[in-house]
């Protein structure tokens, strides 16, 4: 049961979930906001593929590029227009705003496009399968692993080697003190939203490729997965989000192969029950904290 196929499938599902979780935790780390509009960035990217393919007849690589750019743009604009004006108010104002943005974006596509699902045409090679050591694997699964690996390395270089990355890590730790260094608050927050949108856009390509369709509520499921992965992984570090994503993928796939056929449809219920039990015993998540405690002396 645990063979190469299982390993690759788990890694690919874990990669996708890690991307989703990472995009959510980057904004949370800095604004302490669980951005409930995050799922909508994924949904918008899906529609961008659909619209660019049907209206512009764009080739596949352009549709994917447009999808990622659309998610980045919407993420950036929601910060600029919706979150920035209420940022100095209470944290509650921010979270209510994120719900409002979510509902607003859902209704935009509902009215402008259609309440019904639209087909999303993905690159021809996504559905190809290849054989590795006797295991048959969809090419899509290998692609998501490779793309995630590249993004994780790039993001970690950005955070470690660039001044903006340092400022973002500093801001996640002590926001006001970071401003005291002369780092503009808006720069750090905008950057977080841009990267969050980028990850949502890339994840969206692989997310919508599973059903090959998109509808106004497409963002709900990936948001929930990202949220659970972040909470179980640990909310205070990007590492926690990545670990949470991979663990979520692993447990999900283990349930898929171990549950009897009659119970497979209750997989999510089992998943959530496990998460609840886990959080009872370890409320801080797998990675306890991303910051060191101050030593006294």
């Amino acid at each position: 049961m645990i063979d190469l196929e299982f390993v690759i499938n788990t890694l690919s599902l874990g990669s996708l979930y890690a991307l989703l979780a990472l995009g959510l935790v980057l904004v949370y780390g800095i604004l302490k906001l669980v951005n409930f509009a995050y799922g909508e960035y994924i949904m918008i990217a899906g529609y961008a593929i659909y619209l660019s393919a049907t209206l512009l007849h764009a080739p596949w690589y352009l549709t994917l590029l447009i999808a990622v750019l659309a998610a980045v743009l919407v993420s950036y604009l929601t910060e600029l227009i919706a979150f920035r004006p209420v940022r100095s108010q209470s944290p509650n104002a921010l979270i209510v705003t994120s719900f409002a943005v979510s509902v607003f974006l859902q209704n935009v596509v509902l009215i402008m496009v259609s309440p019904r699902a639209r087909p999303v045409q993905l690159p021809f090679f996504f559905s190809r399968t290849i054989e590795i050591a006797g295991a048959t694997v969809p090419l899509r699964n290998l692609l998501v692993i490779a793309v995630t690996a590249v993004l994780l390395v790039a993001l970690s270089l950005l955070m470690k080697k660039t001044v903006v990355g340092m400022a973002m890590r500093a801001a996640a730790d002590k926001f006001t003190t970071t401003r005291l260094m002369g780092v503009p608050a808006n720069l750090v927050i905008s950057t977080a939203f841009v990267i969050s949108g980028l990850l949502a856009g890339v994840a969206s390509i692989f997310w919508v490729s599973r059903s090959a369709s998109v509808d106004p509520l497409t963002g709900a499921a990936p948001l929930l997965i990202a949220f659970i992965a972040v909470v179980t992984g640990g909310m205070h570090s990007t590492l926690g989000a990545v670990v949470g994503g991979f663990v979520y993928g692993l447990v999900f796939n283990l349930l898929s192969v171990t549950l009897p056929a009659s119970m497979i449809s209750y997989r999510d219920a089992f998943m959530f029950a496990l998460v609840v039990v886990f959080l009872l015993f370890r409320p801080a998540g797998i990675i306890k904290r991303g910051y060191t405690e101050e030593r006294v002396g």
Binding site: V163, M166, D173, T176, T178, R179, G182, V296
Partner: protein, 247 residues
């Protein structure tokens, strides 16, 4: 003409008024202290100057230009740097990264290396700890890092908020010696301290705060003469060397 002028500053936290009209001045090259017990508004004054807190009333002028209600990042750019209370080191960042962020304002690659060397000279311990996480440093080392981080931005005015708080007596001595060194190097310093007796040994002038207002102002000598009158503000007089503990 004064480098920093604060006029009739009033500030509040929600409905609670913390400052009732404070006026202070700091001239270039001066070392000035804001003294007073816990909760009289010393840190609030610094936070208001820095733009972290929006004043209710009053004006703050720096080098002839009004900076009231500017954002902290803009004020840092003008040349004021705050070493916050509790040091506020970025614990997950290395000492090197803390210093690099300190140099964020007006960063110049060619002078960065020289600035680092200068910091190593002032604080040799930072060289040993260069690649360690800031959170692993001791309290005194963190205080040094916080000061070095502020100096990396070449501030014209450096404001120190309770730099001796929670430090051992030996480390407190070292920090006070360092403040004198900084003044001798030409820095303009606004120092907030609860440890008034120690502060008065090194400063040019001081303001004594009580209940969000200035009770006394004058040179260190003048304030010292008023010490008996104002002894109530100086906390425990019996053991001057003990480090102050916030109540």
């Amino acid at each position: 003409m004064a480098m920093l002028t604060v006029e009739n500053l009033e500030a509040s936290y929600g409905a609670v008024r913390a400052l009732h009209g404070i006026s202070i001045e700091v001239a270039e090259g001066e070392l000035v202290a804001l003294l007073g017990v816990n909760g009289v508004g010393k840190s609030t004054t610094l936070k208001s100057i820095m733009g972290v807190l929006r004043p209710v009333k009053g004006t703050i002028t720096f080098e002839g230009q009004e900076i009231t209600n500017r954002s902290p990042e803009k004020i840092v750019k003008r040349g004021i740097s705050l070493v916050p209370e509790g040091r506020e080191i970025f614990g997950t960042l290395t000492v090197e990264e803390n210093l690099r962020l300190g140099a964020y304002v007006g960063f110049k690659r060619d002078r960065y290396k020289a600035d680092l060397e200068e910091m190593f000279e002032l604080f040799p311990i930072l060289k040993d700890r260069f690649h360690q996480a800031g959170g692993l440093l001791s309290g005194g080392e963190q205080q040094m890092l916080a000061i070095a981080r502020a100096l990396m931005g070449h501030p014209k005015l450096i404001m120190l908020d309770e730099p001796s708080l929670g430090l051992s007596p030996a480390m407190t001595d070292q920090i006070f010696r360092l403040i004198v060194t900084l003044k001798e190097r030409g820095s303009t310093i606004l120092l907030v301290e609860q440890n008034a007796e120690r502060a008065l040994e090194i400063v040019d002038r001081a303001y004594l705060l009580a209940n969000g207002q200035i009770e006394h102002a004058g040179t260190a000598e003048e304030i010292k003469r008023k010490v008996d009158v104002a002894s109530v503000y100086f906390g425990d007089q019996t053991d001057a060397d003990s480090c102050e503990v916030s109540l």
